[in-house]
Structure formats: C-alpha cells, structure tokens
Symmetry: D3
Subunit: 305 residues, 6 copies
C-alpha cells in the first residue's frame, strides 16, 4: 500500500519559462531512461520478486518508491518551465482569442515569434503541463520495463539504467542554464549516482569488484556548481527507504562505496523534509480549469466548507 | 512524496495456477482501461492541476494514490495465477531441463499439453510474473493518459474511465471462476464503483444530475457472491484519502450518492488494515532468482545481519 | 461530401459463430493490407491529388469510396462470426454471471472449453464486435498509408496492395469453410481482382504491358465454388464509381482487361442493389446495450415517436 | 453503402502557405481527438450496434458519415497550407534541383531560412499534402477507437471526445490567424459543438440533466469573428443525417438544446450545398504527379476522351 | 563493406514441423533480446564508435557481424519448423482450396484441429516463413537499439544483453524438445556465452573483476545434451572476427576467461566451415513462389543459362 | 554467413556539421523507405525464398547484402554531419559544463542559438551519432518488412520500394547543398536506380514490358552535378553480387536495361575498392568514449599490444 504527502522531494528554483528546456526535460520524465521507467521497473521487480532475500527486495522497492516522487518532481518542474503564454495578459474573465487574437502563437515554433524547440502538444493537447512522453514526442512504453526475474541480471540492468539516466542528465545540464531546469537536473544527477551506488553495492555483495569504472559517466560533477552543493551534503551516498513499516535496505546500502573512492554509504531513517507544493495559476488561454464565474463560485463554495 | 507499507490492499484467495486467467487479468493491469492507466492519469492530472480548487485536486490525487496499490494487488494476483510449471518437481539444486527435459512446455500453448490461452512472454521474458501489457500482449502506452487541463472534461473522462474499468471487470468475472482471480476482480468491481461515485459526485457539484444512469454497467452486481460480501461492507461508498498530511477530499466525497440510490458517500480517515505480502517461491526452471549455492550463501549472510 | 444508405454491399450467409475465423478476418479489416488501409490510402491519394488528370483521380477516389462499404461489410461479417456466448441462455433481464456463473468462459481460449484461436479483446474490450486491429492483435496504424504524390508510383503501390489483399484472402479461403466467413472472403477475392484491374489498366495507359503476370496470385479461383458464382456474373471486370455527381472513371476502366485474358472492363452507372442490414441481438452478458428495463422503456418511447 | 459528391462541406478561404500551421492542423486530422478518430469511432459503433434503438444508431452513424467529409475538408486545408516551395519558380519542364539548387530547403526547419515548426515528412514523404499523423508526428492508431458496446458509455465517451475536439480547436484558433487555417478551425469549432449537443441530448433522453456545464470548453466563441458568422446561422444547433434512405436521427436531435441555453436543435433534411473542389497545382519539385511530357500527353488524351 | 557466403553458421537438425515452437523461436529472432537486436545494436555501436580504441571497436563489430549470420540461422530454423500444411498433399499444379477445401486450417489455432500456439501471420502474411516479430507478435523496434556512446556503459549493456539472450534461450530449451528447434537453441546458448565472455573481458580490461557471477544464468548447461557437445568443442570460449582485412579483436578476446573458471579465451583466424543451405520447397497453398507453369518455364530458362 | 571489410562503399566529402541535414538523412537510414528497411526486407526474402529459382534468390540476396553497406555509409555520413558542439573548445581532460557552461545548447533547437531542425536525441540519447529512426523521430519498425513469398509480388514491391527510395533521395537533394550530405545522397540516387533496374529486369523476365515509365521518378538526374559524375561511370547499370562463393545474379542482371533507354546492365565480379574509415573524434561533452586518463591508459596499453 502506498501513501502520499503533498510535498516535493526537492526545491524547484524559479526562473523564466522555457518551452524548449521543458521539452528536453521530458526525456527525464517519459524517456526510455527516465523516471517513469525506473519507477515502473523497480515496482514490477519488487512485486514479482522471488525468494527470501528481503534486503534486496527492500532495496529495489525503496528506490522504486523514491522514483514516484521523482516523477512528481520532474513533472512539476516541466510545468514551471511551460507556464505562461508570453503575450497573453488577459484577465481571467476575458475570452482568450477574442477579436481574433493569437495568445498561443508560441506553440507553433515558427521563426520570428521567439519560439522554437518546444513540443506543440504541451499547449495543444495538455494545458502547459507535463506529459508521459520523451523529448522526441514518443509516448512512454511498457516495453521499456525490464524484469527478467534473475536477481544478478536485474541488478546489472538497474545499474546500467541509473548510469544511463545520470549520463543523460549530465548532457541535459550542458544544454540549458535555466535555473528551474538546472535545480531538478542537478538533484537528479546526484540521486542517480546514489542509485548507481545502491545497485553496484548489491552486486558487490555477490562478489563483483567494480575497480575504478564507477560512477558512470566518469566525470567530476562537483565542477557543476548546483551539483557541488548537493554533493557537499553527501546526498549521493545516502538513501532513505520510504517505508512506514521499516526496511532491511541498510543491510546492503551501508559500508564502503562500490565506487572505491573511500566514501561511505548510509541508509537514513528519516525522509527529507520536503518542499510545499504551490498552486499553479489558472490559464484562461488553455481553458484550464475553464470554469465560468458561475461554476467557479460553486467550486469555491465547496472549497470553503 | 510517496511512502510505502509492504501490505496488500485486499486479500488474494489461494487457488490453482491458471495462465489463461493470468493473461486475462493483464487487461486490468496494463490494458488501456487498467490500473496502470488510472494511476498514471490521476497522478498526472494532480501534478498538473491548475487553480485553487484543492478539494478536487485532493480527490483526484487520492484516487490516484490508491491506484498504485491496485497495481500492486493485481500484479501480485497475476503472479499467483502464473506460479508453477506443473511438471517441474525438481529440487532447487537441480538443473531444470537436464537430460533434455521440458519443464516449461506449458508456455507454448500447444494442443494436448493442457495449456492454452496464456501469454508465452509470462514464461519466456518474465519469470512467471506480471508484465506491463494488456491481455492481447500490447505494451502499456503513455498515449493512454488523458489530461486536458479542463476540470469538467478531466472529471468526465475519469468517470467514463472508471465505468469502462468496471465494465471490463464484470466481463472478466464472467470469464473465470478461479478463486484467486475472482477475489481481486470482485474487489476491483467494487472499488471502480466507488471511483465512479467520486468523479460523478464531483460533476454533481458542478450542476450535473445523473438521474438513473449510474453506475455503469447498470447491473446488480450483488448477484455475484464474492462482490456481495464487499458491497455489504459498503465498500463502494467509501474512499480513503491516502494522505499522511490530511486531505480535503471529504468536501466532495460525502452526502448522497450521485447514483441517486439513496446511499451515502463516506471519506474514511483510516486506511484499510492491509494484508501481509507472502514470499513468492524460487523458480529454478526460470533461473529466478538464479543464485548458485555459493551466491545464495552470500545473500543469506546479508539477510541475517 | 459523403453519403450513406443503410445497406450492405453484398450478402452475408448465415452459419455458426466461429471466434477463430472472426479473428482471422480481422486481417482483412484492420491488417496492413486490409480494407481500412485501402480505404484510407485511396481517400488520402484523392484528397491530395495534384494536376488535372481527373479520370485518374476519379478512379482512385471511386475505388476508395467502395472500400468504406467493404469496411462496413467485413466488420458486420466479423460481428456475425463472434455473436453469441454458447453457454449463455439467460433472459434479457437476468444478471449474467449471477451466482458465480461464467457465460463468457469462451473468451479465454482455454483447452477443454471448446475455444481457441480467438482474440480475447473481442469479448473483453468490445462486445463481440469487430475492432480496428489485425489478426495478431496489432492496432491499425496511419503509417500504413502510402501517398507519394507521384502518380506512377502511387498506382504501382495500389496494384501491389490489391494483389496482396487478394493473396491474403485466398489464404483465408483455405483456412475456414464457415459459410459466413466464406461469403465475404469470396466476394473480396473478386473485388480485389477488379481493383487490381483498375490500377493495372491505369498503368497500361501510361505504357506498361503486363504480359501474363496478372492477376496475382496467378491461380484459377473459379475452382472455389463461392467465388465461381461471382466470377460468372463478371464481377471482377466491373466497377461502379459511387459518385452522385458523375465520374470520369470510365475513361480508364473500360476496354480490354490488363490481364490480357481477352475479357473486357466495364464501369457501371448503377450501384449494386445492396442487402438490408439486420439488427444485431442484445448481449446481456456483454452489458450491450446494457439498458435497465426502465431505461429501455425510455429508449423505446423515443424510437416509437 | 457509401456514396460521394466531389464537393467540400465548407469553404476554405485562401491565404499564404504556412507549414507550421499545416503541422498544427494535423492534430485535428490524425490526432487522438481528431476527425479520423471520430469518423472511425462512430462508424465502428454503428456497424457493431446492438439492439433495436434505431434512432440512436442513426444519430451515431449520421455524425460518423459527416466526419468523413470533415476528414476531406481538413486534409484539403492542410494541402492549401503546405502548397508551394517559396523559392521554386521553375517551369514544369525544368528539373528541380538542377545545377545543385535547393528548392525544398524550407523542409529542414533550419534557422535563417524562414522556416520552422513544420513536419519534414510533409515535403519528404508526402508531396506537400496531408498525412494520417498528429501534430507531433505520431501516426494515427486503431487503439484510439472506443466501442464498448454499452450504449450509455459509448455516448458518454462520444460527448467527451467532441468536447476535447472543440477544446483543441479553440486552442488552435489562438495559435494562428492564417485565414486558410482559421476558416476550417472555426467551422469545426461550431460543428464539434453540434456534435456535443447530439450526444448530450441522447444522454438527456436517458435521464441526465447537464445543468450549465455544456458546451465544453465553457467559453463564448462568438467573440471569435469567424466563428460568430457560423453561429449566427445557427450551425451549432443543426445536424444533417447524410442518409439517402432516410434516418430516425430527428427523434433525438430536436427540441431544447441540452446546454439549457434556450436554443432549439434541428435535424435538416437537405445537406449543405457544398463547395467545388479545385485542382491542386502540379509540383515538379516533388515529382508530383511527375509525368514526363510524353506521359503527360498520354494522360491528357485519356482525359479528353 | 559486407560480403556473403551462402552457408549457414551451424547445422539445423531435421524434425517434424511445429508452428508453436516456430512462434517461440521468434523471440530469439525479432524479440527485444533477440538476434536482430544484437546485430543492429553492435553495428550501430561500431559505426558510431568514437576514439582510437580499435580493439574494442573490432570486438563489437566482430560480434555484430556474427549476429547477421545468427539472424540467417534462426530465420531458416523457423522456416523449417513452419514448413508444410499437414493436410495438403496436392500437386504443384493443383489449385489449393479447390472445391472448397481448407489446406491451411492449421493456421487458425482452433481446438480439435491439432494446432495451437502458433502465429497466424506465419501462414497469412508470410508464406510459412520467419518474420521480424517476437513470440507475442510485436514487430521489432528501432527503440531497442542502445548506443550511448560511452564505452563502459555500452559494454555493460552488451553484457547484460547477451546474458538476457542466454537466459531466454535456456528457457526456450525447456519449452520444446523438437530437434530442429533444439539444434539452433543449443548453438545460441553457447554463442551467447561466448559473447558474454567477450564483453565481460572487455570490462575486465577496464578494471572490473566479475568474481563468480558469470555466466548468467548461473547454471550448468552441460546437463543439456545438445549443448554439451558444443561446449566440449570449447565453442563458448572461441570467437572468430569475421573480417576479411584482419582485426585487433584478439587483443581483448584472449587469456583467462572473465568467468574465472580457469578456461582460456581464443580468437580464431578461420571462420567456421559452414553448412550448405538447402532449397525450401514450393508451397502452392501459399502461392509461393506462385508461378504458373508458363511463368515457371521462363524462370527455368533463366536459371539454366 | 556474412563477412566484413572495414571500408566504406563510397567516399564521404567533408563539409561543415549540419544537424538539420543529419536529421533529414535519418529518413534514408531508419525511415519506412530507407536502407535499414531495404536491407532487412531483402535478407528476409532471401532467407525465406521458396523453390529453385536461384538466380532470383541471388539477385535479391545480392542487393540485400549491398544494403548493409549502405546502412554503414549513411550512418557514418550522419555522424559526420552531427559531429561537434560548435561552442565547445575544451581539452579532453576538461569537464564539459564546468562552472555552469552549456556546450550542448545547440541540441535544444532554440531560436537565437543558430540551431533548428535537428533531433535532440542525436545529442541527448546518442553521442552525436546516427540512430535507427526516421526524420520525424519514429523508430524503425519490423512491420515495414514485406515478404509475401509470392515471387512476382515480392519483386513488384521491391521495385516500388527502390523507386520510393530514389524519389525521397531526389527530394533530399533539393533540401540541402551540404557537401557531406550531398555526396551520400547522390550516390544513393544512382544505386537506387541500379536496384530499380534489378527488380524491373526480373519482372521483365516474367513478361512485363515497362515501356517508358522507368526510372521513377522520371527526371533527368544528370542535371545534378554530383549525380552526373556517378552516372558517367555507368554506376546505375552495374551491380556487384557481394558473394565470396559466386552468384547467379548475372543471369538476370545483364542485357538491355528495363528502362528501355538503350543502355546495358552489367553484373560485376569485383567489388568496389572501398574507402578507408576514419576514426571519429572523442567528444568529452558527450562523455564519449568517456574514459578517465587512468582508464584511457589501460585502453591504450591493450591497443598497443
């Protein structure tokens, strides 16, 4: 059974909207190596887990539960990057498009309009909100989920998956300096490294010695200022278990790091404090939520009960 | 942020394995109107929610969080239905297939082997475990998720979605009397009705009067013995919010049922007690978890720490 | 603009239901070389037609319009083949599944139930009705439609497409002797030959001489009794234009057949007489149409106005 | 059986080519909520209709037949928006690209070429013509078609589908003021509202009272000048049945509008007059139709017979 | 540049046709972890290889070239398993289906016909020949190909890929004892192990020590009689480079095995001798090759030139 | 069995990187009518070939083997077009992105950055390398492969396929004058014509006379300077068989051209000389190959053995 607290797992720094960056971040949400995939893969692996090796199951499930919060974080980040049609300053009661205006012109990526590199579906199918697709517009597919049932193989795949996620996020970091995008990209670079550590450590308990190949990509991400701050908090060596009824994850995620860099892994009992979720503004030009003054009054009456 | 307790939301009744029923239940897991879809749709709708109508957001998010537990329940049910290669009685240390044996012959659905109607991927790609596909083998797709951003429209879609889910589960009920399958099918018939009530009631607050068309399908499911038991507990009129930090869901999910049958909706503060998860047996013929005696000893040592 | 008459383009002969044959016929409906594809391909080619060669456009559009009626025919044929759950004899007001019965057991394709080779979606997603998928369950895709804009190439593709359709229908003929299936398969074998003739003749007007390779497959289908009847009516050499405002199709579809068999092509001014559509029975076990006695009375009142 | 008249259901106003707007309009043609989908969904629902409620079947089939003409209209509109490679002024007998020229440079969406936001497939795979894909390039899929067989549920889905279509077209209106695009977008806004009315009214006959939530989105589209003209003709309250042999649609589509705005629904016996289809110009740079002078002479001879 | 010799890389043992086993083997051909995927993945990785580490490139390319021959082998094996419609004994000049016969009835997987578990497309779309799909009928997808460009990561993925391939082939071994199927399954079990060794050894050169986890699955396949024969030839420790112009593969694929079992890797300079390809019989019931006596004579004249 | 020589089948002319042209060329690699498709289609047709008409099998297989080299050529061309992040001048040991820099900004296609029309996946998922997708980002699909088993039909399809490939390459020629792109486009225009000739000639041996419709498109490509050079070498009338053990292809591919232009077909015994493959540069900003100085030393040691 799963529970929820309406807080984000990390802070999103405010900056200007940027539909092209929003589109790029979709890879981290709905891409083949994004958060929806890690979430579903680890949940399926733990639901289908065979045998009595509970610490391994708890490790996989614990990371999987964290990934749901990552989906929440990156979806919200994309929303912030999309929010707002630059030329639309109408009041809520206005009719967007009245008199033939084009407040959503930005969606078309036409030259000369200051737009480009965005996904038109963000404006046309969604209401300036995140979608379960990748940065090339392909919908997420269940065929991404890998669950062979063989423990060694599943752990090996998971390690590769986190390393690829981290690789792609490092590339995303180099694509945009928008602070909103960067705050979430940097956080995920660090967390992907923690998850690399988790699966590499589990394989180490089965006898593999990783030498000096980890983490992948083998680059000093403390050169990225936003990442350095989080590394200084040792966030890449920590893992919370997200279990209200306790977890055996610490039997694996502890001791020396499998990167053989001399650092130490630590399973935390307390979850992060979390960051409050803010209300997203209404967008009349998207008809979202699209209530008439009359319907709005009915909704407000419900809310004030 | 999301949290987990390793319990199932409802009990799974034991019965014989049945790969054809397992395949049929995949529709409820990875089908276009299955639990992965409701889960993702409601999570996206709440992550992308616009405006200040918190009770509506809490309602959608609350149902969405419950759906993650439904995914967990139905995946585990499918596992139980798949578990076991009938002719394989080898010990764990045996080599399955040794001497040319065919302990997985059942996977081929060949005439004369007592098998048929199953999905070969359950045995060949997975290790007798659930997969994110539907009953015709199509992988789940992100294109299923509907999130227009328009509140009325999203609620209308959600009502239709739950009604279709309930319709398909009633059809599934008529396809198999396997007790394992039935226990979960019956539970989901009742919960889908609760969710129909949730979204229909939300539309009622916006002024729609549903007359006598709900629930859909319009059939007396108390004629199904397994369902009747759950209806007698009023489970179709109750909804827990799954929020550790409180919820405003009750402002909508309360008062007279939108089915206009005289019953009353109730938001519960306490979650269901839950049912402990049992360990799934090792399956040497699937090489799952596939540890050698030597590796197994290492794993056991970790577990006993 | 398109218009409709509620008649079928050919008669469907009654026979026993046969879900496996129904599934096979899906290839002719929603397969890569089925009627939905020919219909959409020819409609797109005529909507996008360039230049002033009206007889060619009329030829393509005329065949395309006929294909809509083929979609109607084959969908209805599949319905007839699916109709009825053999063990269900309940009255309309009964609750199917009451007391735990399994009237839809046939859907699972389990050994020992007399079923096999069907598509479970026909019973679980649809209500024993046709679907836009092929015989392996793949949904129809827009990527099938070919429209290069180059007239020679489009005609060449269309010829290949009709020949492949005819090839697959000859194979379907060899798979089942169900009379319902055979009546439509045989009709389509003959019509596909007429359409082969249409596109081959158009290429002949551009200078190609087909020698003796047509029709493809090069087999004497008059050995198929149901087909012979239709060939005796010369149906493979006739083409109606389906245009209420006249057509220039006859400028191409006339004169000697491009098969060089000595026969003559003929464009007809009058459409076939058509066959009345019969009402499909209600299926309470599918909750289709699923009206309560009360709702049914309301519907009947509307109908009797 | 289906018939055709070579006229468009509404006029397309001439304006400059605009490949980005053409791409956006693809959502209305081949998108999940576009015209190909409504067309196929309603045709399947009527082919598979169960029971004797003929007025309901006629309503669904009538709207479905109109949708084929919408596919024709929007495909033709996209053609007009795509037509022409701005730098190509060659004569028909020229060789496009001769001497190394790049008359199709526009297709690449490169900065500095005045292009952007288009779909390269419009120029590379098609010949500046419409394709069965959405605005993000995804091909249309048979998995879009919904046909549960349950009448209430199918009507509810259809209402939601039309409302989503109208929502997307309102958003499209705000994206472009190209007159060619606008003429068809505006027409479809109004017709989608008529179809919302059709399915909402059918549900009203089953007892639902929609209060004030319709139409969706709840916005005053008479503020859009092009839409106002059509609303002034009451086009949103009218529906023709498109049946050459009569229809019982009027038993439902008549009386007070389900929007409860005091207006009255009207089923018309006469179809719209229609607008003649014009020949699309040859495009040598696309090799469309691509006939040599010699082949062209042969084609002209056929046409002049 | 690539070259071909018309020989198979391993012998296919004759046995009875078995459409269900043919379908199962499709996973090894067109599945997510089958030979088409390894072939394409390694070819793309070598075409896109960055830097000067030629031995690594040669290793990847060498294995990739071998995979093309595996595609050839497994496709031909599937052909042998499919070949022949049991009830069809007609002569070549007969018309299959004449008089209403059903020589392809086997394709429908109907109960009571002795068929089941096959893919109808093998008979309906193909002519009893292999297809680029998996055992659940999903077409092969380019999204399977993994090529991050990061050498460590690509090698890690390739190791996982070969291990999964070997896991699935061990499961296939347990599903069927058909000798035709088994001969190719057993060969691929051994070759997948050789390829595991190749990529694991390459990672070993970068510092990883695999301990005792390899090969995956960790099972003694010499208990499979057909496999034992090939292991006795040390085929799992040998690798040919398939390069006509020499290769640096041996710099990696040599020395102690990364499985740490004491065995030694060996790069061979000479390719396997190969096995002649036999002509597949004509299948009149599939219209394959479908030549009339007249056309056949023309073909024979060409062949005898 | 297949063999490899590390040479390209034609020379790639150096020019500036051009991500938009790279994306366009993807159609020729992973598109529905691109080289991966021709390669797989002809390989499947020859693996599944029925009957004794060896010259026809050799013709299809020979062209299919050439296509693997075309995949190699076009993938390498795309690599050259993608190579290099314009603003990145870091040394190999630098950390790309250090201090918050954005060396991969070009990937986003944002206005004002000088980029546009590219596929972000080329930079984010791949490492500035080719991918198995088309120019709209759709992954290659096994459903593209056509292999009916009917010889006439397969040849007809293949002719249409090559003609479509040539059509698309002529359109690509008109889209870009980048010399790198043009060198490969021009070569493929000529080779597609040779392959049109191959399949058209094979159909001619079965009795078809093509008159003057070939090649398609019917345009004088000698007006394209880069193409003229290759035509002057008669490359469109030559075909090598790529068989180390001899081939009967020449029995078909010889004599007068099926285009009836008076030219003569010629099967060559010697393959083209080929062009050496150059090393692609390391790309630190892509972490490709991503070796640390320490790991690089280990790799160099291996290479120098």
């Amino acid at each position: 059974m799963f529970f929820h607290v309406q807080k984000l797992i990390n802070e999103i720094v405010p900056d200007e909207p940027d539909p092209a960056a929003a589109n790029a971040l979709q890879e981290g949400l709905g891409g083949q190596f994004g958060e929806m995939r890690t979430m579903m893969q680890y949940l399926f692996q733990s639901f289908n887990f065979r045998g009595k090796a509970q610490p391994y199951r708890d490790l996989i499930h614990g990371v999987g539960t964290e990934e749901i919060s990552h989906v929440e974080l990156i979806a919200t980040t994309i929303n912030h990057l999309l929010d707002g049609s630059p030329r639309y300053n109408g009041k809520a009661d206005d009719i967007p498009g009245k008199g033939g205006e084009t407040p959503l012109e930005i969606a078309l990526n036409k030259p000369g309009t200051g737009s480009g590199g965005g996904n038109i579906h963000h404006f046309l199918v969604g209401a300036q909100g995140a979608m379960p697709v990748d940065s090339a517009g392909n919908p997420w597919s269940g065929s991404y989920v890998y669950n062979s049932g063989n423990l060694t193989l599943d752990l090996l795949y998971n390690l590769m998956l986190e390393a690829t996620g981290r690789l792609q996020k490092c590339r995303l970091y180099e694509m945009t300096d928008n602070k909103t995008a960067r705050s979430t990209i940097s956080y995920l670079i660090v967390r992907d490294q923690a998850h690399e550590n988790a699966f590499a450590k589990a394989l180490e308990t089965l006898g593999v010695n990783w030498g000096k190949v980890l983490p992948i990509p083998k680059t000093d991400v403390t050169k990225y200022p936003e990442v350095k701050k989080l590394m200084d908090q040792n966030l890449h060596n920590q893992q919370h278990h997200w279990r209200l009824d306790g977890s055996q994850m610490a039997k694996i995620f502890s001791g020396s790091s499998p990167t053989n860099d001399g650092s130490t892994l630590e399973t935390t009992d307390a979850p992060p404090e979390g960051v409050p979720v803010t209300d997203a503004p209404e967008r009349p030009e998207e008809f979202s939520p699209g209530l008439t003054p009359e319907l709005k009054k009915m909704v407000e009456q419900i809310a004030s009960m």
